[in-house]
Symmetry: C2
Subunit: 186 residues, 2 copies
């Protein structure tokens, strides 16, 4: 089951490494941006992980919703990994605008393995069609949820956001989905 | 089948992106190291990908074999990926010493998905034991080989090195395995 392995890979090779350091990374970021008043006055210090059920992923969030404004990157995290000296892990900070135009600071990104599932469904020799892809994205989401709930290193440091595609023609679909999750925790 | 998905993920999310640029990256590296005489006089301009059958991966190659000497990193390749601005992809250049002490320049790294397989076999809830791991590493190798042989973007730009573990007690096991592959192409 492809999704099962990708969920474990995403946890063992990425989330387990980066989530424990996220809060310190945000603190370091705020310290190095002293002139930015109100930085993180609204928003979340958890990693918001977007999982689109239709498998479609943008490389820049503003292409999906103009109310998602790239602000800056968190400091790079470099570590020696499997023969690569100083492999770089980084996250991007976004200002998410609500309907009143107020900005909420968030660390957001798409779950990269969903992109693998999408690309696999486009490759004839991967043995994996479009109909199967949706099932696999859902299985990825459920497996990842279980893994993260059982993980001491990751507890309370993330939000999984499953994006259902009925309201895709709304140009602010994505920012609203993120704001809904922000409001749930505030 | 975990190994099948990880092989596709490694190809679609990494090798397909980085292998087409490898030769230009090496050329740029040589141009920025003009005082290094004989740079790449011996060695290979293909990416050497190490796949250890026993799943054991070091984060620094010198820890495996002192005849593998880290030289420098190739220039960083940055691209916007799934919401991360300027995600960094890089490779490390090694001097591989032969029995006569001559250095061969190579770009070498372990296949990180093998590390996922190893870690999964250590996690009780992943449903994946030590006995199964070896089979999965072999399946990863074969699947990756098939994918890469069918790939126009990657053709002739890599060497897959399956590391069998009978001679593991030889302190120069790894450099000799790499040199054997270097000699095959020269
Ligand atoms: N958002 C994000 N940022 C990262 O820095 C990152 N690094 C890994 N991942 C995702 O976590 C999981 C585990 O990663 P692993 O390194 O074992 O496999 C990786 C690894 O073997 C290889 N690869 C990808 N990027 C690099 C890289 N920069 N250097 C070396 N190898 C890499 O190709 C596989 C698939 O990569 P992605 O398809 O980008 O998604 C990975 C994967 O789902 C990341 N996801």
């Amino acid at each position: 089951n492809v999704a099962h392995g990708l969920a474990w890979s995403f946890y063992l090779g990425y989330l387990k490494l980066v989530l424990p350091r996220l809060e310190d990374s945000i603190a370091e970021f705020c310290a190095s941006h002293p002139t930015s008043r109100d930085l993180w006055a609204r928003g979340s210090r958890k990693l918001f992980i977007l999982i689109p059920l239709n498998g479609k992923i943008s490389h820049q969030l503003k292409d999906e919703d103009e109310r998602l404004q790239f602000y800056d990157n968190l400091p790079n995290y470099e570590m020696n990994m499997a023969g690569i000296r100083g492999r770089v892990y980084k996250h991007s900070v976004y200002k998410v605008l609500d309907e009143d135009g107020r900005a909420h600071d968030c660390v957001v990104e798409f779950a990269t393995p969903v992109l693998t599932l999408y690309k696999m469904s486009q490759e004839r020799s991967a043995g994996f069609g479009e109909s199967e892809r949706r099932q696999q994205v859902l299985l990825f989401y459920k497996t990842l949820q279980d893994i993260l709930e059982g993980s001491l290193e990751c507890r309370n440091r993330y939000r999984l956001i499953l994006l259902l595609d009925e309201t895709e023609d709304d140009p602010h679909f994505l920012s609203k989905a993120i704001l809904r999750h922000l409001n749930q925790q505030e």
